[in-house]
């Protein structure tokens, strides 16, 4: 207890604590504010688009041009938790167009925001990923090596204090110090979301936010442990900091980003033009069949659309395999694991898009059947089908994020064990 209190006092009064925590709180609040603005725009766009597209589906207004040529549009709602972790979802297409002539195709998304993509988005998770991990390193690098340099470690250990207690005290003390700005920033971000965000947050969202906060705490813990560990195996604080910064650059920046390059080289995608050629051929076969009077006259493009669905399935499976490889490589770094888990818990990862496409596919079947029915029987009183995007269940999300959470906990344990051993063997003089 005394040790913890000492560490707390020592760190809290330092200038670096003041500057770091101010920066963390400001950045977290700013990130939340910016993302709330983004979300509000996306939500507005979604509402407006849905109102427009609902009119297209109105049986009174429907005509053949609409059904065959222009098609109807399905919209993907933004996930409210993108404020915490923007993930990849906002950059993927956010609508699917379904027409009997052209099949279904995904469109929209923030393609022309490439300038944004170059720098990455500023969300709460990216502040935790970059800034808080750096802050954790800066607050722990000198925990052991620094005291040794100053000679206070010798003094401390000459009392009847077991070394493991010293280590534990240091960890808990410093960890609490970094948690103060993190929790303040989190509280500020949550306050913004609740008071100003106009977000509809239900119980499940609060549970997710709680889990995301816990995940971030775990991630920060890994970097505190790393700082302690390196501090225990080096003689000088400056060396410890250098090594930590090297590890930070590799772990936070290089490894996750390189993972996609390596995955791209390991799992090449089928050439786009080949897929397009197949699609084109299937379509023309159907077209010729229809014009020639053969084929299924009720649903002339059914054959082509079945082949397209098969192609989509094939390409999708390849893309998922590549994403899995990239994720596997990125998970070597705690930052990769953190990002993947945060995306999963915030429901802004590729899974959301897959779910949207799957529900659009189901809708497509029902819709085509409904249109056919209407052609055969004009009086058909059946209401049109509705898009039913399955909500992401909390336990599903937790289940698939569990691996990454365990991974982060594993890092904590391994690093703690490492620092424990190193501390016991540490040469104090």
């Amino acid at each position: 207890m005394i040790l913890i209190a000492k560490e707390l006092r020592e760190s809290v009064l330092s200038a670096r604590f003041a500057v770091t925590s101010l920066l963390c709180v400001i950045l977290m609040a700013a990130a939340a504010g910016i993302m709330i603005g983004d979300l509000a725009t996306l939500q507005e766009d979604y509402d407006a688009a849905r109102a427009l597209h609902a009119r297209d589906m109105d049986p009174e207004h429907m005509n053949e041009e609409q059904i065959f040529i222009m098609g109807i549009n399905l919209d993907k709602p933004p996930s409210p938790l993108m404020v915490y972790a923007a993930g990849i979802d906002p950059r993927l297409p956010n609508m699917v167009n379904i027409s009997l002539l052209r099949g279904s195709s995904a469109k929209g998304g923030q393609g022309e925001d490439a300038g944004l993509a170059v720098f990455g988005s500023l969300d709460v998770a990216s502040v935790v990923l970059l800034v808080l991990s750096l802050a954790a390193i800066l607050l722990t690098y000198d925990a052991v090596a620094g005291e040794k340099e100053r000679g206070t470690l010798k003094l401390l250990l000459s009392n009847a204090v077991p070394r493991d207690m010293v280590l534990l005290g240091k960890f808990i003390g410093r960890f609490m110090v970094i948690l103060i700005p993190f929790l303040t920033g989190t509280a500020a971000a949550f306050l913004l979301m609740v008071l100003w965000g106009g977000m509809e947050l239900g119980g499940a969202e609060y549970a997710r936010l709680g889990l995301l906060t816990l995940l971030s705490v775990l991630y920060i813990g890994v970097f505190c442990m790393l700082g302690l560990f390196i501090s225990c195996v080096t003689k000088k604080a400056a060396t410890a900091l250098l090594i930590l910064l090297l590890l930070w650059v590799v772990g936070v920046y290089a490894l996750p980003r390189a993972s996609s390059l390596v995955a791209g080289a390991l799992r090449p995608m089928p050439p786009a033009s080949g897929v397009e050629a197949e699609r084109s051929r299937a379509f023309l076969d159907s077209l010729k069949g229809m014009m020639g009077g053969g084929g299924d006259q009720d649903n002339p493009f059914g054959g082509a659309r079945r082949e397209w669905a098969k192609l989509d399935e094939y390409v999708g499976a390849k893309a998922r395999a590549r994403t899995r490889v990239a994720g596997g490589i990125a998970r070597l770094s705690p930052s990769g694991a953190y990002l993947l888990a945060a995306m999963r818990l915030a429901d802004t990862g590729p899974e959301r898009h897959d779910r949207f496409l799957a529900s659009a596919g189901k809708f497509d079947e029902a819709y085509t059947a409904w249109v056919m029915e209407r052609f055969r029987n004009r009086e058909g009183a059946d209401p049109p089908p509705r898009l039913d995007m399955r909500p992401d269940r909390l336990d599903d999300a937790l289940n698939s994020a569990l691996f990454d959470i365990v991974l982060l906990a594993g890092w904590c344990i391994v690093l703690f064990a490492g620092s424990w051993v190193a501390m016991l063997r540490y040469d104090v003089t």
Partner: protein
């Protein structure tokens, strides 16, 4: 005297652990990322070539001449030859422009759509490594230049000799800059050699010049961070607090400012949603169809009436797209201007402009595809009216004279234009260097030595 100070600084740093770490970070990241991207460029090039030939021959599989209008045609954007150095915004936007009466001009094939893995964590390229890693290395090699010597007491000793302060600080700057540039230049030259020697990439003289300009730009950028390190170092008592402040400034300049600039720009300059644009384009199409219905059968020859209608539809759709594009460009420009505050954003934007991988290339591609359209449609019209290809037949289109089909070319931007496009960014980096140097100079002249 300057030389001996420079030599002393270089000796001091080269033997330190930091210098080894700088090499350990710089060399594998710069060379590795460019090597992988060169491989990727080869794959992209191949995909581009097969897609181009497929899209040229595609019309021969259409059942009739008239179908070309309905089923559309596509042109492809070649990969940028310096993409292996600066991937830029070009890596995130589509590479196929598809035009048909029904859909107008649409660009698709963005990296996020077909390569989710590539967008999960962001991408890495040599320019990104320079932006993130080299700036950090520059800070690590300069943070203690003054504060460290002050702590060690050697500064006092040094100044007790007849060494003018301005020469000393200039020597420190040059020495530390050279130490950072050593690992950088070695890695950059290897990466550039890989690019030049790779059979995948055809590099012209202009490309080599661009490569050289990116090198100069990088030196300017790294120099700004060395100066920043010196400035903070002269103003702090302890080397460790100097590093602390520098790291926080670094995070803000690298990650905070550019992203916040985008947020500010999208807040100030509203861009209507894509859904709205699609809807308005569809409405334009419907309008033309409605008008046709009201007018009844057009007068005169039906073929030219059809061409008029197609042009009418495409023209109206283009108007909507132009409006949207103006909004996007206004927002992007504002974001660029705001982010000039950060040397990192200025560096990345300028290197994209110099390597021809910025958004300008995307807009140029769209313009070229639009300019190609009438040429292509005239060709179709001519072939159909000459009777080489059947207008309405259903059993294969007949013989298309493919060698007479106009060729789509993406015009290259001259080096001068690229430089002009990056002038604000270059000026920003220059001003940063001058200001930081003056600041360092003044504060070192006034610095307390003891």
């Amino acid at each position: 005297m300057l030389l001996s100070i420079v030599a002393k600084e270089v000796r001091e740093c080269v033997l330190s652990l930091r210098f080894a770490l700088a090499f350990a970070l710089c060399l594998p990241l710069l060379v590795g990322s460019s090597a992988v991207l060169i491989g990727e460029y080869g794959a992209k090039r191949q995909a581009y070539e097969s897609a181009t030939s497929f899209h040229r021959e595609q019309i021969t599989s259409y059942p009739s001449g008239q179908m070309v209008y309905l089923l559309g045609h596509s042109v492809d954007k070649p990969p940028a030859s310096l993409g292996a150095l600066v991937e830029g915004a070009d890596a995130y936007v589509g590479s196929i422009a598809f035009t048909s009466v029904l859909s107008g001009l649409e660009v698709y094939g963005t990296s996020a759509e077909h390569d989710v893995a590539g967008s999960l964590f962001g991408r890495i390229d040599p320019a990104g490594v320079i932006m993130v890693v080299l700036s950090l290395v520059a800070l690590l090699l300069s943070y203690d230049a003054v504060a460290g010597e002050r702590e060690g007491g050697t500064l006092k000793l040094c100044l007790s000799n007849a060494v003018p302060r301005d020469v000393l600080i200039a020597g420190k700057y040059l020495g530390r800059l050279m130490v950072v540039l050593a690992p950088f230049c070695v890695s950059f030259v290897i990466a550039a050699l890989l690019m030049v020697l790779s059979p995948n990439i055809e590099m012209g003289g202009a490309d080599l010049l661009r490569l050289l300009l990116v090198l100069v730009l990088s030196v300017l950028y790294i120099s700004a961070f060395v100066l920043l390190g010196l400035l903070v170092s002269t103003r702090t008592r302890q080397a460790s607090s100097s590093l602390m402040i520098l790291l926080l400034v670094w995070v803000v300049l690298l990650f905070g400012v550019p992203r916040a600039a985008w947020a500010v720009a999208s807040f100030v300059r509203d861009v209507p949603s894509k859904q709205k644009m699609f809807q308005e384009q569809m409405a334009a199409l419907m309008e033309v169809i409605e008008e046709q219905r009201k007018q009844g059968a057009p007068e005169g020859d039906p073929e030219s009436a059809e061409e008029r209608m197609i042009n009418d539809i495409l023209g109206r759709r283009q108007k909507v797209a132009d409006y949207h594009r103006r909004k996007v460009v206004a927002r992007n420009d504002l974001a660029r201007q705001v982010s000039l505050v950060s040397p990192s954003a200025a560096f990345l934007q300028a290197s994209m402009a110099l390597a021809e991988t910025d958004m300008g290339r995307h807009w140029r591609f769209i313009d070229a595809a639009r300019a190609y359209d009438p040429e292509f449609l005239t060709y179709i019209h001519r072939v159909v009216s000459e009777g080489t290809v059947d207008r309405f037949s259903m059993d294969g289109g007949g013989d298309w004279p493919l060698d007479e089909m106009p060729v789509f070319i993406l015009p290259q931007r001259g080096l001068g234009e690229s430089l002009a496009g990056a002038k604000f960014e270059l000026a920003s980096l220059g001003i940063w260097n001058v200001l930081l140097f003056l600041g360092t100079w003044v504060s070192f002249l006034r610095a307390e030595v003891a």
